[in-house]
Symmetry: C2
């Protein structure tokens, strides 16, 4: 990044919480583009302020990054999704498609996916935590609802296979997003179509379809 410091007009004075929230929001898109090793000077330029300003709001660069993690990963989950996934008044395939439509509306964009991958490679705990959450709130509910629909019981014997099947659905959908938003390569179906097909294939993989 080229940090040309052109003659700047003094940054507008803003209330503490407003500026703080603005820094978190804009820094997220900045680090998503340039990685967490990008400099605080370039960040300041991106924000339209000067470099030391950040230190009024966060004790260190890393503290700011931690805050971004929180806003991105913890804020991703919408609590109505738990109810949506387990609403047995509706056909299970319909629920799964609607859930993945909504979930991917949140995570399938360049900013979210790149921050997720950057964080994962940094080896921060929050990504392992996030995967554990995905398993608890998506993978296992999906298994449970499919099992209930088909009339199968989850046993210690078939559980490993069922877990990996559900993870495979998740992974297939996720990788579509990686291709499109991280690598910028071609995809051949709209998101919704791809999800519908994936859910169909997944549901059909259970014994009595």
């Amino acid at each position: 990044m080229n940090s040309e410091v052109l003659p700047r007009t003094r940054a507008a004075r803003k209330p503490f919480e407003v500026r703080r929230a603005e820094i978190v929001r804009k820094a997220a898109s900045f680090f998503a583009q340039f990685g967490f090793d990008a400099t605080t000077r370039d960040l300041a330029n991106w924000l339209g302020t000067t470099q030391p300003l950040m230190y009024r709001y966060f004790p260190s660069k890393n503290a700011l990054i931690e805050e971004i993690y929180q806003s991105i990963f913890v804020g991703a989950w919408k609590k109505e999704w738990d109810a949506l996934l387990s609403d047995r008044t509706r056909p299970v395939r319909e629920r799964l498609v609607e859930f993945y439509d909504q979930y991917t509306d949140v995570i399938m964009n360049s900013e979210w996916m790149r921050l997720y991958l950057f964080a994962g490679l940094r080896g921060v705990d929050i990504t392992r935590l996030y995967i554990a959450r995905v398993e608890e709130r998506i993978i296992r509910p999906v298994m449970r609802e499919m099992a209930a629909d088909i009339g199968t019981t989850i046993t210690p014997e078939n559980e490993p296979k069922l877990l990996e099947l559900a993870w495979s659905l998740q992974g297939g959908i996720f990788y579509y997003g990686v291709r499109k938003f991280v690598y910028g390569t071609a995809v051949y179906q709209e998101k919704h179509e791809m999800i519908a097909t994936s859910v169909d294939v997944y549901a059909s993989s259970w014994p009595k379809a």
Copy 2:
């Protein structure tokens, strides 16, 4: 990384090509662990040499990184895989399972997968090139062989769906590797079992199974 420079014994003197190859190989595992922003001093410490030595063999840090890309991405493909995938004397599912068993033996390790993700986030051309290659040498052959086996014709109408179906197989398998080798989280089946199941599900998604 802590670059403690303990009293070192002078590095063994080695012929040009030997040392050069050693640097590429060891630097690959170094950058896989610490990312491409890790310093040349820490790299030298990792190699058991001093920092300026690298510059006898590569004009810049980035030139070394480019060489690592080549060795990892171009070197990944084994030419017998083309023949394996299209060997119509054998059942198609068997071929797909054997191919993915072998392919994942090469790429499913912490070093390969982390370098792949690091490179992708850096936005280097080689990753887009690699994805194009995957599509040409895996995705399309898989489609073609399945179509031939089932007796279906690939048309402009069904091609997008068939492409995404094959990508979904690839993505599901790949994400298993990401979970295991990048995030270090639990997986519930051995690699071979997961592949066998995935290929089965994929094959069954075609009309006449």
